[in-house]
């Protein structure tokens, strides 16, 4: 197991959210959408300009910008 920032994850890579350091409004939004420690995610792909990123979480697709993914740390195998 190895903890990396979500931005560094490549397409198709999966992992478990370990820590979310965002606070305030962004933190609230990230949590409300289910990005909390313990959630399993998989990188689904990037927009044509490499930003934002689309991830699979629970049963839906969530998008977030790279600078928002910077607040999320994921345990990957």
């Amino acid at each position: 197991m190895n903890r990396i920032c979500m931005r560094q994850m490549s397409k198709g890579q999966a992992g478990q959210v370990a820590r979310v350091t965002a606070s305030g409004e962004l933190g609230r939004r990230i949590r409300d959408m289910g990005l909390v420690p313990g959630a399993t995610i998989q990188i689904q792909g990037h927009a044509p300009l490499r930003d934002p990123v689309a991830i699979k979480i629970m049963d839906f697709t969530l998008t977030l910008r790279n600078n928002e993914a910077d607040f999320i740390f994921v345990e990957v195998t």
Binding site: E25, R28, R29, R31, M33, G34, L49, T61, L62
Partner: protein, 735 residues
Amino acid sequence: METTIALAGNPNSGKTTLFNLLTGAHQHVGNYPGVTVEKKQGMCVFKDQKFHIVDLPGTYSLSPYSLEETVARDFLVIEKPSMIINIIDASNLERNLFLTLQFLEMGFPMCIALNMMDVAKGRGILVDTQKLSTFLNVPVIPMVARSGAGKELLMQSAAKLSEKLSNTKPLKISYGADIDQALSKMQEMIERNGFLTDDLPSRWLALKYLEGDDQVKKLGRRHNPDLSAVLEEISHDLSNHLERSMDTTAEAIIGEYRYGFIRSLIAQGVVQTDSARKPFYFSDRLDRVLTHRIFGPVFLAAALLGLYHFTFTFSQAPVEWLEKAFEYIRQVADAGLSEGPLKSLLISGIIDGAGGVFSFVPLIMLMFLGIAILEDSGYLARVAFMLDRIFRFFGLHGNSVVAYIISGGIAGGCAVPGIMATRTLKSPKERLATMLTLPFMNCGAKLPVFAVLIAAFFANYKTTVMVLVTIAAWLVALFAARLFRSTILPGEAAPFVMELPPYHLPTPKGLIIHMWERTWQYLKKAGPVILAISVILWAMMSYPQLPAATQQAFEMQKQQTISGFAPDIIHELSMGGETGNFSAAALNLQEQLNLIDSREAGEALKHSVAGKIGTAFEKLSVYAGFDWRVNIALVGGVAAKEVIISTMGTAYSLGNADMEEDGRLSTRLRSAQGFDSLTAISLIVFIMFYSPCFISVVCICRESGSWKWGAFSMIFNTAAAFILAVTVYQLGLFF
């Protein structure tokens, strides 16, 4: 007594479909008080019992992140509906339950409508509704809102619930030792003091204090400032403790435990996963192509071009029919009424004004139908996803693109529904920047003006000019947005943490509702407002009339001309008939008379209020190449862009009936003095960018909450347009 039901759920959970299913045609749309969030209400009669259904805005949570969430929460707290129907997407249970838990913690009597059972089944997700119902202690009704399956059961369950509407015991979730301890301490104080407990459960109130919910704190301070202060202090101490010991916040822990609670429900067998379940669905496979690095943008360009062609190809015929219909009405009125101000008012004011607006309704309807298809299928969310990076550079949000397209980003929309569409933007600054720049798009009312100018001067380059005009609109809009965001509207970008809803086939009913809502927003302006404007413009262009002496002088001139011809020729002309049958001499006479008529009409127009305004602006507008006649049309265009064409028609026809029949405006412009291709370019530039029409300005004032932004857009846009037009014209003079 009628029962009020709040219909609540996540976006994309089928809430609107269910609302339409329950209320049918008995609904009306308004706004929540003081905010620009739409409030839909309707009536549902089930077995002689009346239910008043309020559609709450779709939200993922009740934490006050967005305006929608605040509105939904306030409605529940203040209006206190009798019960909630919570619609849940069964194929996306975990995330949907996050909101459900928050309703249950508030202690509302509730029914769960477990929607999209078919989709879930197709994905191999089997939900045990019985178990879910037992765990949450609320009725759960499986249904498919799209087909209407489960509606009876849902209403039966709601009716049963409405018979015994005592507040149910709120759900109690454990949030770990630290928070639970603080909660019970606060709960005890709240209950002892009867602090807001008439309306709200004590534990929920305590939770909101811990979460730092400003609205609830404000409510509490008004009710009991001392206790509120104590509660705030407890929350503050806990925050400090959590910050120091675990480097986290109470709010974060609460969110995490809620999801933890949901995960444990699922693990206890609420969801049975079929062995055939795949982690990636059809929608994801489609996304691999449609948001692909290369195919994505290619497909996007193709889709937008396709929409453009679809709209313009299929709207051509109906637009022509309508134009013919109005032409026919005009002729009937012309033949049936005697000369005079009333006739002039009816024809030049009312019929032409209404015709100018209504003729383009087919075009706008088809454009909105196309946009509804893109939107309802889920593709527009992908467009926002793909273009966000570009829009962010200009200080906007990926979602701004939707408002731009509705306003005429692909040519032919309307800024009014576009301004309404900015409601999806969460950041007020981004929203304003979008709202202020989208009138630069080429709305359906500007297109006919371009069409006439192109036909007159660039008939061979129609496509090229339209493409250039579209690109120019986007560039100016984006750079203006960037300018606003770095000067008058600075601020952080709103997050792009959003759901990409699965693709699905739009329903015809949904498309029609969607298309009609926006078309109606456009049409409403064609009502009294545009009629009033047409009448005012007509009056401004007709009065004051020429002094009697001048009129007599023209009459004298005519008599003199006539007297120079032989009596049989005068007789031939007065008999009327086909122009083609006249002798050369009669034609000559007619031409001379027409010339006098047009000089008189020209003098009359110049003498009118509008003419004086136009002439006054000429000193300035001459730098952009516009004479007083163009100025009149442009001033009229501030009222509504549709008016430009009809006003120019009047100004350039110079009142000559015969010329009007065979001389189209484009031909007249080409032969008009002082109007050449450079003037046309300059005029196109000016019309593209100058003041939004009156209705859009009113809409900007209303949606931004201040008349200042409306005034700003009129002044800024006109100044910018003038500078651009002058630059183009003056540069053009060198070539």
